[in-house]
Symmetry: C2
Subunit: 116 residues, 2 copies
């Protein structure tokens, strides 16, 4: 399923840009149904864990997500472990979630699907 978000690009995000409102986030989440909102140090992040077969596959997925991040100029944290990869997106500059983060979550799903 190709969703609209996956086709968007990250926009430049300045300090002071507005975080997503609860309503905006609620509208977008059906497009990224497998992502959770987790708060770390008071900052919400979008987080998803992908299950893979071993460590080599986890590292390969980490690299594909890393390439995506470099291409878009927006960077997640990626936890690589044997058999799984956990990705978290948030916007450091605004200490919260920007539309970019939802776009990147959708694009991450596309990247993860393309590897299978």
């Amino acid at each position: 399923m190709v969703t609209g978000l996956r086709r968007e690009r990250c926009v430049a995000c300045e300090r002071g840009a507005p975080t997503l409102t609860a309503e905006e986030l609620a509208d977008l989440r059906p497009q990224i149904p497998d992502w959770q909102v987790v708060e770390v140090d008071g900052v919400p992040r979008l987080t998803r864990t992908y299950t893979v077969r071993n460590f080599a596959e986890a590292l390969a997925l980490t690299n594909r997500i890393g390439e995506l991040a470099e291409a878009e100029g927006h960077h997640p944290s990626i936890l690589t472990e044997w058999g799984r990869v956990t990705v978290s997106w948030w916007t450091h500059k605004i200490r919260g979630l920007h539309r970019n983060d939802v776009v990147m979550a959708a694009k991450t799903d596309a990247v993860a699907e393309s590897g299978h």
Copy 2:
């Protein structure tokens, strides 16, 4: 500085193998002075954060550590972020620290140094 631990190889580790005693760990830690022992879900891990210049360097270091892990058949968790990489070693099978983990921490330091 090349330390003795860096020259060791991981040994096969079976369920039921002994965890390091506090004394054994204390004897080895001077060889990995920058590693902390952090407990997660009741299981101690050896953890260190390496600072690098950007996301691309973090991903490159993650890959070098991943190659080391595959070569030794022992796998850490690696958190890749913009400008830093956090590595954690522990032995899942024994829910604790094995000498292998200290060996791998020392080897990780060697890998990280070789990239600069």
